[in-house]
């Protein structure tokens, strides 16, 4: 059985039409998973905290 990686990156000739569609669907699902988390309140909340902590670190490193 072909893995997602094999399906997505095989040459067109090596795939059936169905496999090609599956490959693109898996790519779209991957994008959706990452994007959904990126747009979540938790992501934004933690991002603000990291920014604050990293900014503090920059100041420390300049002293």
């Amino acid at each position: 059985m072909k893995s997602a990686w094999d399906k997505i990156f095989a040459s067109d000739a090596a795939l059936t039409e169905e496999e090609r569609e599956e490959a693109l669907r898996e790519l779209a699902e991957a994008v959706a998973l990452v994007t959904n988390l990126q747009e979540s309140p938790a992501h934004k909340r933690i991002e603000r905290q990291i920014a604050k902590k990293m900014a503090g670190k920059t100041e420390d490193s300049l002293e």
């Binding site: 893995s3 997602a4 990686w5 997505i8 990156f9 095989a10 040459s11 693109l24 898996e26 790519l27 779209a28 699902e29 991957a30 994008v31 998973l33 990452v34 994007t35 988390l37 990126q38 747009e39 938790a42 992501h43 909340r45 933690i46 991002e47 905290q49 990291i50 920014a51 902590k53 990293m54 670190k57 920059t58 490193s61």
Partner: protein, 214 residues
């Protein structure tokens, strides 16, 4: 889809490896966090579950993820590709941060879990792929695909990528996209073809293949 790290000239993994020991700019940590938040969260929840803690409060989970990202970028950033997969390194780092968090909990607090023996956790924290929970692997692989796609985005024109994205990712018809961009249908087809070709080229890079394969 938002632009995760559209201007990054090389893949994120290579970029981070080259940056080893250097101080990260905002773009670097933001790109890393945008992509790797999912895998870190999945691993953290999995490690907490090993301690029989199933419903971790947001504040505690946030702290763990924050600690993983910031410790990842410490000056002593120690990932060495020759010693194993990045996925395993990230898992180990997350496991340590979960343990740190548990150790910081106030003494005498009635914990909602039973502590697992230290030896048992240590032994299971860096297992081969087959031992990782299915969710962790699924999220990590999705992250790799998204990373690859963002890598390609930085290597083609914005219009070419957008045409590919609209047709192949969001399912718009090529005719619709051609009309929107006021170009002929074959321009849209060529754009999709170019991006797919670039994806395949990049996917052959050992760093991606190694991370994806079991």
């Amino acid at each position: 889809m938002s632009h995760l790290f559209q201007d990054t000239p090389v893949s994120l993994l290579s970029c981070l490896q080259e940056n080893r020991g250097g101080f990260p700019n905002e773009k670097a940590w933001s790109a890393f966090f945008n992509l790797y938040h999912g895998p870190i969260r999945a691993v953290a929840l999995s490690v907490f579950r090993r301690y029989n803690w199933k419903h971790v409060p947001d504040a505690i989970l946030d702290d763990v993820i924050l600690d993983v990202v910031t410790s990842f970028f410490k000056a002593d950033f120690s990932y060495d590709p020759s010693r194993g997969k990045f996925r395993h390194y990230l898992r180990q780092l997350t496991t340590w941060r979960v343990k740190d968090t548990l150790a910081r909990l106030p003494k005498g607090l009635s914990l909602p879990f039973e502590e697992v023996a230290e030896a048992e956790l240590s032994a299971s924290s860096l297992q081969p792929d087959g031992e990782l929970e299915a969710r962790e692997v699924e999220v990590y692989r999705a992250t790799l695909l998204a990373t690859l796609l963002e890598d390609v985005r930085s290597r083609v024109s914005p219009q070419t990528f957008l045409m590919f994205e609209m047709v192949k990712i969001f399912g718009c018809s090529p005719e619709e996209v051609a009309a929107r961009f006021k170009v002929k249908r074959n321009v849209v087809d060529n754009a999709s073809h170019r991006v797919l070709k670039k994806l395949r080229e990049l996917a052959l890079q050992p760093e991606y293949r190694k991370e994806y394969e079991a």
